[in-house]
């Protein structure tokens, strides 16, 4: 299998405040691959480094070691200018639909901006905008509105449309549904799966929610304290976890069934008492 994205021994340490003060490493040698059309779910608790990994792929954080290869091209350390052509192939959907859309721009401006930046005429970009709105299930009159006029789920659709504008090969999804309501969450996930089926785009899907991961991922990678502790097909990892951390993660997530949850709680308590 030819990987679309290959991450090899990626390390990252944020610059310290003083001259020599070093902060702890956030990424400690991460290696993973994403195939074309595949969704890789990246799970971990806050501070595990999963968001940093996504930002490193997007060029928003600077790795201190290792490499990121995208479609055969080393994109580990590109200048902003070198990175610009990459926008056509690599896109992002952020967690917070409230801050990922510029509040003072109309939806049409938000959506046409990446297209125009690639040199497409304004008239053509208008057509693309209405196609995109249709694709994410928003009415075409949404183009003339501002982000604040939409609900969270609708905004996240706008963010998805923006990511799709340039027909990318990989979209980094950083917790795209965690800020959404339950019913909206399911619909947005369905939309993402549909889009993947239609376009063959790959997702690096970052989340802390195991049920979301199950829903959308082909494969799952589990991060813990800057390291990858377990990788594998979603069914395997979520049913027969190998790593202890993955196990505790699975047991900790409360399930939406009072009786099942009581069992899980008891199991967890036993495990903890055994450990102690």
């Amino acid at each position: 299998m030819t990987a679309l994205l290959t991450i090899d021994d990626l390390r990252l340490r944020y610059p310290g405040r003083g001259f020599r003060s070093a902060s702890p490493e956030v990424l400690r040698g991460i290696s993973l691959e994403i195939a074309p059309g595949e969704t890789l779910g990246l799970v971990g608790e806050s501070g595990s480094g999963k968001t940093t990994l996504g930002r490193a792929v997007l060029g928003l954080a600077n790795p201190t070691g290792g490499s990121i290869t995208f479609q055969g091209e080393d994109i580990t350390r590109l200048s902003q200018k070198q990175r610009r052509p990459l926008a056509k192939r690599l896109q992002v959907i952020f967690q917070d639909p409230y801050t990922s859309l510029n509040p003072v721009l109309q939806i049409s401006e938000i959506l046409s901006e990446p297209i125009v930046a690639q040199g497409v005429s304004a008239a053509d970009s208008r057509k693309t905008v209405s196609r995109l709105l249709d694709q994410v299930g928003l009415p075409s009159n949404a183009a003339q509105r501002y982000p604040r006029e939409f609900s969270g789920g609708q905004r996240q659709r706008v963010a998805i449309a923006r990511a799709l504008a340039l027909e990318p090969r990989l979209i980094v999804c950083d917790e795209p549904v965690s800020a959404l309501d339950l019913s909206t969450q399911a619909r947005v996930l369905d939309l993402l799966v549909d889009i993947q089926r239609n376009t063959g785009v790959s997702y690096l899907f970052i989340t802390h929610d195991l049920s979301v991961v199950r829903h959308i991922s082909h494969r799952v990678a589990v991060m813990y304290k800057g390291e990858l502790v377990e990788t594998g097909p979603v069914a395997e990892v979520t049913t027969t976890p190998q790593h202890e951390y993955t196990r505790s993660l699975l047991l900790s997530a409360p399930t939406a069934d009072p009786d099942l949850q009581r069992e899980r709680r008891a199991l967890r308590r036993r495990l903890r008492e055994a450990a102690a």
Binding site: P36, L105, E113, A117, Q118, L166, D181, L182, H215, A256
Partner: protein, 605 residues
């Protein structure tokens, strides 16, 4: 896309249809409109000075020296040199306006340009420019102006140019800090990922967003520049023959005891000019905040307790039936919460809610965002902002009615009978005080400081904090989110409340921590026999903790029932819909990644 969401768009956007711009909003404010008119009138008087005055501003007539106001041809009188005060005021307006324009213009241009660069480009640029602007701030500007006066010839325009540079640091700081804030916004990241050039990001995203505060600062800079010019002229720096408010004041100051009015005229006009500028700036800021308010309101819908006053709960009707049973810990009947809109219409967010919590019972209050669940919880706690209009037939805790209680009585209840656990652990601790001191404060009413400390240390140990002494002395930023939530729980149960209201107590936490906190809550509830009202949108949490569930939607209760019943046999359509959207643990994505096709595609490239 469901039809409900499309409906929502229409519904939400309806009042927004006539989306008035900031300028229009500004003109709608009486203060904004008046100050704008005053400003325009003053500026026009200056621009067309020669049409409004009978004499040249520098023309002296010895016949009218110190003539009183009303002298023919000299409306405001003449000064000590026999010059027309009115004519001089008109010319002074021009000098002031030009000074304001130059000073504020230079400061804004320089400050904005370098502020953008420093905030956006990187740490090194930031360090260098910040250092340079700090230098500018320490530099004695007057020295430079005087030293350079042979070069500038004392022309006030050149002087104001120099002072513009010295005013620039304030704009620089403002813009830089705004940009640093905006730079970390996700939409700027998104723009970068979208392949936008730095210039485009700066001009379109960053500058566009920070322009409001810059425009406001311009009004202050202009006043400052006008003040500086008149101050310098008062001191006699520069040409003394150019009429300006400062030189007029200086002339009049000499004669203040003989002709005090001569001092009043320039002062009044200058004050009018500057106050119009400032009030216009203020009105613009208000217009800008108004424009931003909807987004903020949404983001902080629950957190808008921007007041220390407590909202009293009003009885809906006199003699409402007392349905609170002796067994019930919390009884709520027909509770509504509304907020008056700017157009005077009351917008209801909670509408006729009734619910009960029995002693020792955990009741889940479930609903999506905007369902009114948090507003319901806060109205029970008496923590809604004063704008809220709260009414209820019955609102009783442990047999004690909250209706018509004043804020002091409510506060007493909050300290003892009823307690609260918030959602976001970090933001709910005062960053400036140690954990211990904030927790002790709540107990000080009933016991000595020593006792309170002992109680809190004991509690900290009880909520699972390994080193209570150390945590007691720590500041909030020194502990983790999970610890902070334990601290808040300790704070809530410190007074051994009968009713605990928890607002999404685990939403901000990682799943592993969430599980521990849930365990802790259950244990404490068992020990203390508290009734708990648990506000949440997480059905996993509901399943874990709750005995009964109240489902809310659009401010109303749609269904109430035992936890199993809700999960297994939801009666209401909405509840069914909610239960159905729960991502099933058993469905795992099985369709294979279509990488085979893609590989072919890759290979043909």
């Amino acid at each position: 896309m469901t039809t409900t969401e499309i409906d929502n768009i229409a519904a939400v956007s309806a009042p927004e249809k006539k989306r008035s711009g900031v300028i229009r909003r500004l003109l709608k404010k009486p203060l904004g409109l008046i100050s704008l008119i005053v400003l325009i009138v003053i500026v026009l008087l200056g621009v067309f000075a020669q049409f409004f005055s009978a004499h040249d501003a520098t023309f002296t007539s010895l016949q009218v020296v110190n003539a009183p106001p009303g002298t023919p041809g000299y409306i405001l009188g003449a000064d000590q040199n026999g010059r027309d005060i009115w004519a001089r005021i008109l010319v002074s307006i021009n000098v002031s306006v030009i000074s304001g324009l130059i000073g504020a213009g230079v400061a804004t241009l320089v400050g904005t340009l370098f502020g953008l660069l420093a905030g956006y480009v990187g740490k090194k640029t930031d360090a260098i420019t910040s250092w340079t602007f700090n230098l500018l701030m320490t530099f004695p500007a007057l020295v430079l102006v005087l030293v350079l006066s042979p070069v500038t010839g004392g022309a006030y325009q050149a002087t104001m140019f120099i002072f513009g540079l010295f005013l620039a640091p304030s704009t620089y700081r403002l813009v830089r800090n705004l940009v640093v804030g905006v730079k970390n916004e996700l939409y700027v990241d998104a723009a970068r990922v979208s392949g936008l050039s730095n210039r485009r990001i700066l001009s379109r995203h960053v500058l566009y967003v920070v322009r409001g505060p810059i425009i406001i600062s311009v009004s202050f800079l202009a006043t400052a520049a006008i003040g500086i010019q008149s101050g310098l002229a008062f001191l006699g720096v520069g040409s003394t023959l150019t009429p300006s408010f400062g030189s007029m004041t200086s002339d009049a100051f000499i004669n203040v005891y003989s002709y005090p009015l001569q001092l009043v005229w320039p002062s009044v006009v200058q004050a009018l000019l500057t106050s119009a500028l400032i009030l216009l700036g203020n009105a613009y800021r208000d217009a800008l905040t108004d424009a931003e308010r909807p987004t903020r309101a949404e983001r902080r819908a629950a957190a808008s307790a921007a007041a220390t006053r407590t909202r009293m709960v009003r009885a809906r009707t006199a003699g409402a039936p007392d349905v609170s049973s002796a067994r019930s810990l919390l009884t709520v009947r027909n509770l509504s919460v509304g907020y008056a809109q700017t157009d005077g219409v009351l917008k209801s967010v909670v509408d006729g809610v009734s619910l009960d919590v029995a002693p020792g019972e955990i009741v889940g209050l479930v609903g999506e965002s905007g369902s009114g669940k948090t507003q319901t919880a806060f109205s029970i706690l008496g923590l809604l902002p004063p704008e809220a209009q709260v009414e209820a037939d019955v609102l009783t805790i442990a047999g004690d009615s909250l209706v018509a209680k004043d804020s002091r009585e409510l506060r007493k209840m909050r300290g003892s009978v009823i307690a609260y656990i918030p959602q976001e652990p970090m933001s709910n601790l005062d960053p400036s005080f140690t954990i211990g001191s904030q927790l002790v404060e709540g107990l000080m009413a009933g016991m000595s400081r020593k006792e309170a400390k002992a109680t809190i240390l004991q509690l900290l140990a009880r909520v699972g904090i390994a080193d209570p002494e150390r945590t007691f002395a720590s500041y909030p930023h020194q502990i983790s989110g999970g610890m902070a939530q334990r601290v808040l729980i300790a704070g809530a149960v410190a007074s051994r409340p009968k009713l605990l209201i928890a607002d999404e107590p685990t939403t901000a936490l990682d799943v592993t921590i969430q599980a521990e906190i849930l365990d802790l809550l259950r244990d404490l509830q068992g020990e203390l026999g508290m009734g708990v009202l648990l506000v949440t949108h997480n059905f996993g949490v509901v399943a874990d903790l709750c005995d009964r569930v109240v489902v809310m939607r659009n401010g109303q209760v749609v269904e109430t029932g035992k936890v199993r019943a809700i999960f297994h046999e939801p009666a209401h359509e909405y509840t069914q819909q909610l239960i159905a959207s729960i991502l099933d643990e058993n469905t795992v994505r099985t369709d294979p990644a279509p990488h085979s096709d893609m590989r072919e595609l890759e290979e043909t490239k």
